[in-house]
Symmetry: C2
Subunit: 327 residues, 2 copies
Amino acid sequence: MVTIHDVAKLAGVSVATVSRVVNENKRVAEKTRTRVEWAISELNYAPSVLGRNLRTSKSNLLLVLLPSISNPFYTEIINGIEDTAIARGYNILLCETDSNPKREAIYFNLLRNRLAEGIISMDPSVNKNKLLELAESYPVVQCSEYDTESPIPYVTIDNEQAAYDAVTHLIESGHRKIALINSDERFLYARQRQNGYEKAMQKHGLPIRDEWVYNAEHLRFGAGQKAIRTLLQLHDRPSAVFAVSDVYAIGALKEIHRLGKKVPEDIAIIGFDKITFSDMAFPTLSTIAQPMYEMGCISAEMIMDEISGVNVNSRVLEHKLIKRDST
Amino acid sequence: MVTIHDVAKLAGVSVATVSRVVNENKRVAEKTRTRVEWAISELNYAPSVLGRNLRTSKSNLLLVLLPSISNPFYTEIINGIEDTAIARGYNILLCETDSNPKREAIYFNLLRNRLAEGIISMDPSVNKNKLLELAESYPVVQCSEYDTESPIPYVTIDNEQAAYDAVTHLIESGHRKIALINSDERFLYARQRQNGYEKAMQKHGLPIRDEWVYNAEHLRFGAGQKAIRTLLQLHDRPSAVFAVSDVYAIGALKEIHRLGKKVPEDIAIIGFDKITFSDMAFPTLSTIAQPMYEMGCISAEMIMDEISGVNVNSRVLEHKLIKRDST
DNA sequence: GTGAAAGCGCTAACAT
DNA sequence: ATGTTAGCGCTTTCAC
């Protein structure tokens, strides 16, 4: 490995001068600078991030914590984070936790070791206490999922209102028996969307039956298929379904079709997120659009501001009802 | 930040002893070990990756280079890489290059700086020369895309044979006019699959018309939609299409449906990869299954073997024709 | 069994 | 304008 010493030797200067050139410090004579730059390219020298970090605690690296890379919802947020980070000279390190506390701990340590300068958490199953403890000493931002009672800044949408809008759309389309495919209630967004569902139903004097609320296990197409199978077997069958994720909704769409029924005639479906696939499904999926890309951009801005000592405020962004063929 | 010195002080020992305990070196008295361990947990100490790396060049970090996180094809490979790496104590750093040489350079430097110990490249647009140069000094493995003439070990499938199988399936279903939706011909897989397409056509004495070969721009659904629109406008229209990616095929499926035509009656479609969504599309997509997860596992094994000095050989894995409703 | 000290590559005072 | 040097947190000889 080529070190700063090799360059200094070849250029016939001290390591300090090389460091000055590399860091674009002004106080170097033009002639010296040229010679050093020549030596650098001659040796194909790249400064060690390790050595630099150790000295300056500056890695220009951001950690992004997410439960799984397989969900397209995160994919689009990440695009936003990346573009924004890159523009300000930061690079990101994607950390898939798989909801595994051990892996989470490894990534937290990366931050505590100053290998990264800040962390954006999108993991709903993150250990809230550990994250809070981390946030006391290091820059932390939460994206999408957050904690109502913690001081950690976040960017999100109004999940309750969004769910309310989705269900109201179904009601206004003439549905009275509306089911909910929810994910794990441990997650804040799941509870908030369930609240929105319930409020919309109550507002219109519609009954909520326990058996119409289905909690899916994993965030996969298969879970949506299983959910709709259960719902369709009910004695008192719902005529419409609100799924808290497009992934569930698309699985449901597929399964309904496989069973020879029609959407929205036999049963209407609305999803949540507006992932790219939602427009490729048959029929096209009505959904609640989250500004994923923007959420990514904003959380990246927030974390970089925090790092540079600027005060940041949480943000609640706008969602949008997208009416398509499934309702 | 808590350092090894803090722990040493609290435990009343030297930093060397703390280091021994942390690294599970045998030569520490039971009593001392207990006291040190107590101090560690008392202070919530986590060894600095930075300091350790600088000394040992051991980061237990793997770099994974990919063009875009949005393609589900990569997602499943990454799952395989992650599971395998984690099992052997490595963590991975996902690096999205967006086919941008500058970003590529940043990640290469991470390797040259020993911040990571090896790199798995899945980027078809990677700079072959730079990668080759890197491979002379550091562990490098290519996954899916590779270079026929370079000594860098790779894991892939037989793209030509797989494409041949896909097209043969269409021919055996009675099609004679078969179009190809390909991606950028700069990519090896694109050229190989085109070869397979041509060989299958020639083998059965079928004509290949230039206008039946469409090169899409970006790997997005929209590109598939655009491609099929062009193909359907041809005077001499193909009755079947082989798309080199499920993403193109699904876009095509959607567009055909939107135009009021039927698959496979009006036009048959076969894709490539077998991404999860291919089974959610309407109709379900026939495709060539790549063992993505396995490819990930094997490339991870390969890179870790390389790192530990074990000799590794390139691997060509089996593909499989999946007949579903679109053909 | 344990400690002292050198040194990994780098930056930033401080000196010249 | 440039060089000298301490020290970032850690591991690892080499003494004791």
